[in-house]
């Protein structure tokens, strides 16, 4: 039974990591109607900058801050030069332009940092295990991520629903021309939102660095999951993305934990593992297909 709780916690942690990435994506997509395939690249850049600065300064939090600043600057530059011209273009052209950006980012990282994976360890202050479940320890770092994810969710809620900028953002998203007519500087607002999305993605990358491998193309595998999250959650909905992120985190983790065991009961050990393993990887996409068939606009399409 304890194992189940631990798996549930693992699912929660994966869900929160996905939410960090997906929140930036759904903001940009929901408010500016922009499909940004290169969102994963900012996740990668965040991880690389965090790793490099941490290794030089020895201070993980300094690394994270450096990554956030770098992502903000990068976000502003990309938005002003490229994204600004894409808002009114068809989704397909957004896909083509951001597909090009993926190639550009992957190759520039390879030129700057080389193709070898980078090393970054958990900050010493969090490198211990919490005796959460009696016999086994649960890495404190992962609990920190869960807590941080929830804090960011609340912060986003306050920002969107109770702050002036949030109000402007919602106005901008529902009717861009009207907002502009009322004197809101939409361009600066959109640059701000895009940069904010970039910062969120880089933060997710920075935090994921110590757990996962910091390597080229790390953004793309996570990008697909992030798109699944925001579609299931309802595009543009922060609340929806959080629920969907947790749902996918848990389904994927429990699937990987229990499906192989389930198939082993009536198959040979290796066949059961193979069938169970592959079904686990299909589970998320099956979940998305089912939800889209039942609710073609995702779980909740409100902001």
């Amino acid at each position: 039974m304890i194992l189940f709780i631990e798996q549930l916690f693992n699912g929660l942690q994966l869900g929160v990591t996905l939410f960090l990435l997906a929140s930036g994506l759904t903001l940009v997509f929901g408010i500016m109607g922009l499909i940004n395939l290169s969102h994963g690249s900012l996740y990668m850049v965040g991880a690389y900058v965090t790793a490099t600065v941490t290794n030089h300064t020895g201070n993980f939090f300094l690394g994270i801050c450096a990554a956030l600043v770098c992502a903000a600057i990068l976000g502003v530059i990309i938005e002003m030069t490229i994204m600004r011209r894409l808002y009114h273009r068809d989704h397909l052209y957004q896909v083509l332009a951001t597909f090009g950006l993926i190639l550009f980012f992957n190759e520039s990282v390879r030129i700057i940092w080389g193709s070898q994976p980078l090393f970054i360890d958990i900050p010493q202050s969090l490198n211990f295990t919490v005796n959460l479940f009696g016999q086994g320890g649960y890495p404190a770092y992962r609990i920190a991520i869960i807590v941080l994810g929830i804090v960011i969710l609340l912060a986003l809620f306050v920002l969107i629903f109770y702050s002036k900028i949030g109000m402007l953002t919602r106005a901008g998203s529902s009717n861009r021309e009207m907002a502009q007519a009322l004197g809101i500087n939409i361009n600066r607002l959109y640059t701000g939102i895009f940069a904010f999305g970039a910062v969120l993605s880089a933060l997710a990358g920075g935090l994921a660095g110590p757990i996962y491998a910091v390597e080229i193309g790390m953004g793309e595998s996570v990008l697909i999951l992030a798109f699944v999250v925001i579609v299931i959650g309802g595009i543009g909905s922060i609340k929806g993305s959080f629920i969907a992120a947790l749902l996918i985190g848990i389904v994927d983790t429990l699937g990987r934990a229990y499906l192989p065991a389930f198939f082993k009961t009536f198959m040979s050990a290796s066949d059961g593992a193979v069938v169970g393993g592959s079904l686990a990887s299909i589970a998320i996409y099956l979940l998305m297909a089912v939800i889209l068939v039942v609710k073609p606009q995702g779980l909740s399409s409100k902001l």
């Binding site: 397909l92 052209y93 896909v95 550009f104 190759e107």
Partner: protein, 325 residues
């Protein structure tokens, strides 16, 4: 020189060059490039079939690699079984005869197209893009988990499929087979686009509300064109597997679906020959850039961004001054 006959001049010229390319290349001792040209034609076939549903029906599929890969796997599995005389599902004997495996590949893709089409056509817009991506990823993970067909290592075909009277091992003959299929598919697409069925599909794309109010649900017509597009990509997959004599899950990967979209956009959406020029431009760029530097992705990435920012409706279309529908 009005826009129309400048366009038909370029198309005519293109097909002239394509028709004489192999002898031309061997004349200048570059016959190696014939197989690269075949690859461009195969990608063009996918581009044309994908452009059918994006251009005519407004359905943006991000999962066409599923059909491309599935077509390839049908051929790969059949010839794998015939080479090692194992039985498929312990019932059918494998075959290396193109007259059986190619139609079968197209048939399997038709069924897969119906399944994915029926599910995906319940959604519209961005959700359609996402659901096709999700279903294609499921096909990818399904195939990769079947141990006997090599999973990640893929399957090698010892020889290309056999066609009576022709030797497909010879690159030039294989090139002309690919060219023939591209032309046949173009004719089918042309017939569909200018038919009454094509008119209804276009109408549904441009004003879905009016078609419904007239009592004509576009689902059946959209499914039909979706399946036709799936069959085209499946055939291209079968040809690709014969060209490289190898099939692997990479042919089902989502980045390939992305590449197909890039080809359609580069060629110009809704333009019948768009897939051909998109494939020529993208693969041409790849070939040129990769011969100069290992970091060609870097340059291709920037080139794609510039192409989107400068042209309104696809590089080729803007060259000919065509406005995309």
């Amino acid at each position: 020189m009005t826009r129309l006959n400048r366009q038909s001049l370029i198309i005519g010229l293109t097909f002239l060059v394509l028709a004489v390319l192999p002898p031309l290349l061997s004349a200048i001792d570059q016959s190696y490039y014939v197989s690269i040209a075949s690859k461009i034609l195969i990608y063009a076939l996918v581009g044309i079939s994908l452009d059918l549903i994006i251009g005519q029906a407004g359905l943006v599929s991000f999962g066409h690699a599923a059909f491309f890969g599935m077509g390839g796997y049908v051929c790969g599995v059949l010839s794998h079984h015939s080479a090692n005389d194992l039985l498929v599902f312990s019932v059918f004997t494998g075959t290396n005869n193109a007259l059986i495996s190619w139609p079968l590949a197209v048939l399997v893709c038709m069924v897969l197209g119906i399944i994915i089409g029926v599910i995906s056509l319940r959604t519209t817009g961005v959700y359609f893009i996402m659901i096709t991506l999700a279903l294609a990823q499921m096909v990818y993970f399904l195939i990769i988990s079947i141990p006997q067909y090599g999973g990640e290592d893929g399957l090698s075909l010892w020889t290309r499929n056999k066609l009576p009277g022709l030797n497909l091992q010879d690159d030039t003959q294989f090139y002309y087979i690919c060219l023939a299929w591209v032309i046949i598919y173009l004719l089918i697409a042309h017939k569909l686009i200018y038919s009454s069925l094509g008119l209804m599909i276009k109408g549904a794309k441009l004003n879905h509300q009016r078609l419904i109010a007239l009592g004509h649900p576009p689902f059946k017509a959209q499914l039909m064109i979706f399946v036709l597009s799936a069959m085209g990509s499946g055939l291209a997959g079968a040809l690709m597997v014969n060209l490289t004599q190898y099939v692997s899950p990479d042919y089902l990967h989502w980045s390939l679906s992305g590449k197909f979209l890039v080809i359609v956009i580069l060629g110009g959406i809704g333009f019948l020959f768009g897939g051909l020029y998109g494939a020529l431009i993208l693969l041409g760029l790849e070939e040129i850039l990769s011969s100069y530097t290992d970091h060609w992705h870097f340059i291709l990435g920037i080139a794609l961004v510039i192409i989107v920012l400068t042209s309104k409706s696809g590089l080729y279309a803007s060259l000919v001054g065509r406005k995309a529908t």
